[in-house]
Symmetry: C2
Subunit: 347 residues, 2 copies
């Protein structure tokens, strides 16, 4: 293993000034007395301090800017977490003298990578935040190859090692499934995305784990996979309700609220009341979940907390050697129980 890299704290101790001053002088954010400045630069060089990213010498001015692009929501949906997620990162960044530079997400992978390359090569950003990480994510591969700093909201393949914060989606589905089991359901279906969804597969693990713990082997017919939208949720519920009575599920977990709301419409159209007649849960705790009739039980992600932690992690990555950092933090989501999953009306 490498010796841990020299930190700004060590430089500060050696130069006999505060951490803040060292950080600002080395990043050329302030000018201090010439003699102090010299002492800091000498301490940094004597200790061999250097930022851990390539193509950027100690003396190059940082942009104090972090790049972020995200995949746009389909036009028939609204991204329920985008605003809070961005605001949380903006505030955390501003407190630390950083800004977020936002740029478009290109559907074409080569174009997508080019936009990251341009930002790196022009020196416009010091690091990136990535979200919606998928298996074999091309952005992750490119940034790792460039050894350019980034943190991610989300995980990828287990063998890829990078700093991330993620919601434990499996834990969310485990809670939802467990809750339906507690309501007396035995045949619990799942409205899921296709298998190539990294986020979806993480969530599904919790569904399988909870059923297994209850000694239940889910039937293949119970697992409906498709595009995670309203239309698919409605259609999938119709399919489930058309199964023979002997294997027909009496409850379902959905991997997002849109599918759950579609499923709810299918139930209502058959004269069934979500809750008493069929247990149903969503994921995301969107405003729509709260205002649906009946209100939808859903899994809430700690979005503000995620934005704050991502920025803190990113600052650590920029100040230290990222290889020495813990590579991931999983935050637990919270199940918010409402009428759609309760056999009896809450009193």
């Amino acid at each position: 293993m490498n010796k841990a890299r020299v930190t700004l704290k060590e430089v500060a101790a050696q130069a006999g000034v505060s951490y803040q001053t060292v950080s600002k002088v080395l990043n050329r954010q302030i000018r201090v007395a010439k003699e102090t400045e010299q002492r800091i630069w000498q301490a940094a060089e004597a200790l061999g301090y250097q930022p851990n990213y390539t193509a950027r010498s100690l003396r190059v001015q940082r942009s104090q800017t972090i790049g972020y692009a995200w995949e746009p929501t389909p036009s028939d949906q609204a991204n329920p977490i985008l605003d809070e997620f961005l605001q949380s990162m903006f505030h955390a960044a501003e407190r630390n003298g950083y800004y977020l530079l936002c740029f478009p997400h290109h559907a074409n992978v080569q174009q997508r990578i080019d936009s990251y390359r341009t930002l790196i090569d022009s020196g416009r950003v010091d690091a990136f935040v990535l979200s919606a990480i998928e298996f074999d994510d091309a952005r992750v591969a490119y940034l790792c190859q460039r050894n350019f700093p980034f943190v991610a909201f989300g995980r990828s393949n287990q063998e890829l090692c990078f700093p991330y914060i993620d919601v434990d989606g499996g834990e969310g589905l485990r809670q939802a499934t467990h809750h339906l089991l507690e309501q007396g359901h035995q045949r619990i279906a799942a409205l899921a995305w296709t298998r190539d969804s990294r986020v979806g597969e993480n969530r599904m693990e919790g569904y399988f784990a909870a059923l297994q713990q209850a000694g239940i082997q889910p039937l293949p017919e119970w697992i409906q996979r498709g595009e995670g939208n309203f239309r698919f949720g409605k259609q999938a519920m119709q399919t489930l309700l058309d199964l023979p009575a002997s294997i027909r599920p009496t409850a379902a977990v959905a991997l997002n609220d849109m599918m759950a709301l579609g499923a709810m419409e299918a139930l209502l159209q058959r004269g069934m009341t979500p809750g008493p007649d069929f247990g149903l849960t969503g994921f995301d705790d969107t405003p729509m979940a709260r205002f649906a009739t009946p209100a939808l039980t859903s899994v809430q992600q700690p979005i503000w907390e995620i934005g704050q932690r991502l920025m803190a992690l990113l600052l650590e990555v920029l100040e230290n050697n990222s290889a020495t950092l813990p590579t991931g933090q999983l935050l637990p989501p919270t199940l918010v129980v409402r009428a759609s999953s309760l056999r009896q009306r809450p009193s």
Copy 2:
């Protein structure tokens, strides 16, 4: 009147090179043959070309960065247009070699202005985009006083003159009200924001205009004002339904979808079906409007178009003297008719 400022086109003609080359050389984005570069700078100086913003000499490098902050959506709501609006601006900006720098919106006005000041003084941005412009908007006042370039999604007081793109919200409400009149309604209520909302007052103008044209004087009881959320919409509809039969409205326009959905719940709780029993329209055409049962008639804003036009306007402002630009463009919204406003089910 001042003589119109010298444009890049005139500089290009004088130097005998393309507009693109002049723009890029003056902004130090590319290097060309030394002799060409000299010719361009000489032409610019001979003609007296200068960018129209202060505190920035001709020779200062531009950041090619545009600042944007917006007021966060309350946590019980999702911003239905944010993602599309940002994506549209990102793409238009990137095509022109610009990026968006996003920063937090502070609730405290002084802090808010400070964040604009910091960005200007540090040279981080060339211009700003503002949205959700209110009456006597402090940001508008500050940027006008600094003579710093910006464009706005939205208008302010009539006497404030700045480049903006806005949706003609009055036209949207006029269409919605007219549509309800055509459905045979005479007593049409309005679920509105408080009077200090600039956007709300613009929209209400269309409601009053359509009724006036039909010879109808709205009763004060019909106009319910409050926080534009679900809870208020529900409460306001209950109040309307409790009016004496002789003045009780038979239809209502709402200034956003959240209020309309709250109103819908109040109707459903009284066993009334939105559409046949009570005409109802929203505004924003959110996914919730489309997926409500019954589906909600709503006013759709051309969000992608707005983002594209704002960036085009901003580039014009940066290349020319903003004072010579047309100061505003109003885009018409589109009424999307669904079951909630139809007396009879669509066949």
